[in-house]
Symmetry: C2
Subunit: 203 residues, 2 copies
């Protein structure tokens, strides 16, 4: 039998992808390291060369999910040709695109078996995405489009509220209730950032 | 052996209290219905007369936790002699008192074995406490101390942000970081409610 040798980056990505599929299909709680190993078709030692435990692969997987979005945000934030509100709009568009692509995931994130995965994903978003958004808000402060102190902390609070109340799926809001919550959020964002009324009406 | 017959309300409260102690000491995940039955010293049938399952007793327990605070809030909200900012202050004081009394609980809520209990507690707070706070904010609107539409939804968003970012214990903020987050929250609350700058500086 020929042993297939793959370069470490490819191998690691393969293991992460297999783990992700199992988390999505049967939930993090019900996924074992053995099942991941079997799915990728590698030796136990190969798995443990990359990840020490199930917790470690969960952490790595969550970060890989957030990093894709984060990289795009960073590109948008760094583009010196764009005015600040255009950056905000592009970031939201890019987020919707990600959410659509991961519609199947969203469903799975709301299952009790993925409660821990979901919580870690929310934490990673607060810790990794908020600083990039804060950088854009700072540009807005300089352009006098926004007027806000404690930028990072403000962005984190707004992200936390929107994730927990509107996107967590733990509240089963009726359509009309969700609409009113979105209106409230638009107002809270505009006022918190010291932005002009209506400037976030595209939300 | 003499059978002790207790009235249903007492019995139900006893079972709830025993369940709560077990949830706190060993976590919801590791608590069995049998352990609850044994702790209270009742027959299986007695337990199932009050609660259909472990999930049902969790739900009842969470509501009993929130209801105590909710009742006090309702009393404060209904007191027609108090100006609106005094009501807000009294509510916050009453909340701190509860948190202090339940310091042991707070610790336990952050354990992974109580992740589900904590999530349900957060949900109950959003659904039961927010309407009472919204009633007070409405009074503030009438007195022109606040200026906010979609009152209930705004309160829910602010509660969600503060619970998830500041009180969930899932972020381990350093003291200075926590201070900056509190400052940001004060500003977000004041601006969102259309309150005078500094009016929430007692936070």
């Amino acid at each position: 039998m020929k042993r297939i040798v793959k370069d470490p980056t490819t191998r690691r990505a393969e293991i992460l992808e297999a783990a992700g599929e199992l988390f999505r299909n049967q939930g993090y709680v019900h996924t074992t390291v053995d099942a991941i190993i079997q799915k990728v078709g590698v030796a136990k030692g190969t798995f443990y060369y990359y990840f020490k435990s199930k917790e470690e692969i969960l952490e790595a997987f969550v970060h890989s999910m957030v990093d894709t979005l984060c990289e795009e945000y960073k590109k948008i934030a760094a583009d010196s040709t764009l005015p600040v509100m255009e950056k905000v709009r592009q970031m939201l568009r890019s987020q919707s695109y990600h959410l659509d692509k991961q519609a199947e995931w969203m469903e799975s994130l709301h299952r009790p078996e993925n409660r821990e995965l979901h919580e870690r994903l929310n934490i990673a978003i607060i810790l990794k995405i908020a600083p990039v958004l804060a950088q854009v808000i700072e540009q807005g402060n300089k352009e006098a489009v926004f007027h806000v102190e404690n930028t990072l902390e403000t962005v984190q609070f707004l992200l936390a509220g929107s994730q927990f109340l509107l996107e967590s799926g733990i509240f089963h809001w009726e359509k009309e209730e969700q609409t009113k919550r979105l209106q409230a959020m638009q107002m809270i964002i505009e006022r918190s950032l010291g932005a002009a009324p209506g400037s976030f009406s595209f939300l």
